[in-house]
């Protein structure tokens, strides 16, 4: 390295040093410790004892609740993620149409996404109350029987996924920004070639905004797989463990049962699942994400 390179290196390192120090202290160290703990028996008030891969064996072979909560999280993701992705894209397309008062519609659709999750959890508890809630009131109004939104184990998880749709506004705004970058000239060219609405959508709009779809997909995967607050607060994992999600079981293992070693093993399994899924998304992105200028 030349002297100038060295000088730049020192300057650069100095500027990023807060993050570097934070990375070591609040990321690398805990991650390493977490991995070590996952190989130990660590009841919070006694020192950790090394037990090899026992925790992982117990997870995969001896813990029905692990599989149950893992499935619950997957189930929630399957219900919520595709619906959120599709509906937010659909809404963005609608909000991008040339009609009057769009800024009002946009604001109304966006605002629910900034309600503190705790407040919206409280609100939806009230909305979904089987006896006094407005949802069952509306169902009764059209002659249907009310359902146990959060109290019936068949409905509890779909209800939580349904609730997540209320908060799509944030994703909608990101899509909308992507849609507005599509050059009008592309549409004009497509139109001259005789492309219809669907063809333009499929061949112009979607490829052009594919990086934005990809970004939203990655964020959704990471966020949805860590869902915690809504089931923790609204259903406490019930009824009958039907909404006990993975992060909730992990939290309880660590802070209620105080099995830090076991909880760390669970955290590592969660980390690996997220890494594998985002890895798959990145790998598949080569086929369907088109960056401009490539």
């Amino acid at each position: 390295m030349t002297k100038r390179d060295w000088w730049n290196f020192i300057k650069g390192m100095a500027f990023i040093s807060p993050w570097l120090i934070g990375f070591v202290l609040f990321m690398a160290l805990p991650i390493a410790l977490s991995f070590y703990y996952s190989l130990t028996d660590y009841p919070l008030f006694q020192p950790p004892v090394f037990i090899g891969t026992d925790n992982y064996e117990r997870l995969f072979t001896g813990d029905a609740l692990f599989w149950k909560t893992l499935w619950n999280t997957v189930y929630y993701t399957l219900l919520s993620l595709p619906a959120t992705m599709l509906i937010s894209l659909g809404l963005a397309l609608l909000l991008n149409a040339r009609i009057a008062n769009q800024s009002i519609y946009r604001t109304i659709i966006f605002i629910p996404s900034i309600v503190p999750i705790m407040a919206s959890a409280m609100l939806w508890l009230v909305l979904m109350n089987p006896d006094t809630g407005v949802f069952n009131g509306l169902l009764n109004l059209v002659g249907l029987d009310g359902i146990g939104w959060l109290t019936d184990k068949r409905w509890a998880m779909p209800s939580l996924a349904f609730m997540s749709l209320w908060g799509v506004g944030y994703t909608v705004v990101i899509y909308l920004a992507g849609l507005q970058d599509v050059p009008t000239s592309l549409y004009e060219a497509a139109e001259i070639d005789g492309a219809g609405v669907w063809s333009r959508m499929w061949n112009v709009t979607l490829p052009f905004i594919s990086p934005v779809i990809f970004f939203n997909l990655i964020m959704a995967i990471i966020g949805t797989l860590q869902v915690f607050l809504q089931p923790f607060v609204m259903t406490k994992g019930g009824p009958d463990d039907s909404t006990r999600v993975y992060t909730m079981y992990l939290y309880q293992t660590a802070f209620e049962f105080q099995e830090f070693g076991y909880a760390s093993a669970m955290a590592w399994v969660q980390l690996l699942i997220i890494l594998v899924l985002t890895g798959i998304a990145f790998w598949s992105s080569k086929r369907w994400v088109h960056y401009q200028g490539e």
Binding site: R106, P116, M118, M122, V126, T132, G133, V173, Y251, L271
Partner: protein, 391 residues
Amino acid sequence: MADKRNKKLRKPRSSRALSRPQAFAATAALLMICASFSLPFMWMFSTSVKPKDQLLESDPTWIPRQWEAPVGEDGAWVAVEYEGKQITSELYLTRKEGESVSQLLPFSRLTEQHTFRQKIEASEDQPYAPIRRKLGDKELGDWQVVPVDGAHLRKSVAPQWQNYPDVINDENMIFPLFARNTLLIAVLGVTGTLVSSSLVAYGFAKIDFRGSKLLFAVMLATMMIPFPVIMVPMFAIFRWMGEHHLGQWLGTFKPLWVPMWFGSAFNIFLLRQFFRTLPNELSEAARIDGCSELGIFLRIALPLSRPALAVVALFTFMFIWNDFLGPLVYLQDQQQYTLVLGLQTFQSQHEGSPYNLVMAASVLIFSPIIVLFFITQKTFIEGIATTGMKG
């Protein structure tokens, strides 16, 4: 893709204007969607000003209402119907101003009668007086006030604004204290994030040094780390520190704000995208004038980046305001609770019974966010739009 700073959501623009039927269909769809998106808000607000009695009605109504009994010369007659269950409530008549006049009908031991009628003495000279139920520990929703012998009970519109001061002064939901705690963490956290993230972002954006690409990639990858992986060992570390007299962190605000002084990946990314759009000519000129890198950062880059810094401040504030898992894990004493944690405790202590107060608290917790949103709407939306841009 080229960097786009100041992403604006422009006027709607699609390939061509919609035909009239299309525009009509799109408008109709949007109106219906907007109605359903606003419905929860209306319910939240309406519930927050409902009288307690109304919460138990199994036929949900939107308008806060309450029963009123006609007050004649010899008082008011009301009857109560219920279905054979133990009633632990009391019925009483109130003056319009909200003060109770006479507390009557304490039928806590009645289990078999189906109708119970009683004359309520009302000294106040008013044609109708509101009837309230004082709810005991166990609430029963299946009894109701009914008219007696041609007495015309009526329901009047009665928003209970008092619910708001009530929840603020509730001894379990120590609103002013929780708000102070949240704001303290927010001020420390937002300041730390601004200082540290902007420094780091400048380093990544404007200084070409060996390893910067790799480190930047590592930093982005940390966004994928789920919080539990960090939370469990951090708790163990803080506990260990406390035991070995290396500083008490558990049960203090420190775990919630100190890490924010070391930059956060998302905000560094956001600011770096912004810094990269600043022209290099300015900093070159300053460098020739003998300005140090830190000087360029402080005197040129930062002042030009106010919009981006505002976005970071806004997002960080909202993150802290909404955070639940962090306070849940690290805070121990109720005196230190944040608003969100306090609300959850309040709700679970009462098993959700005073919906109206829980809703009033939710409205209060949401209100600063919505005010911030309307003040900073443009910055806010542009900030979100920028997050979706590839670097």
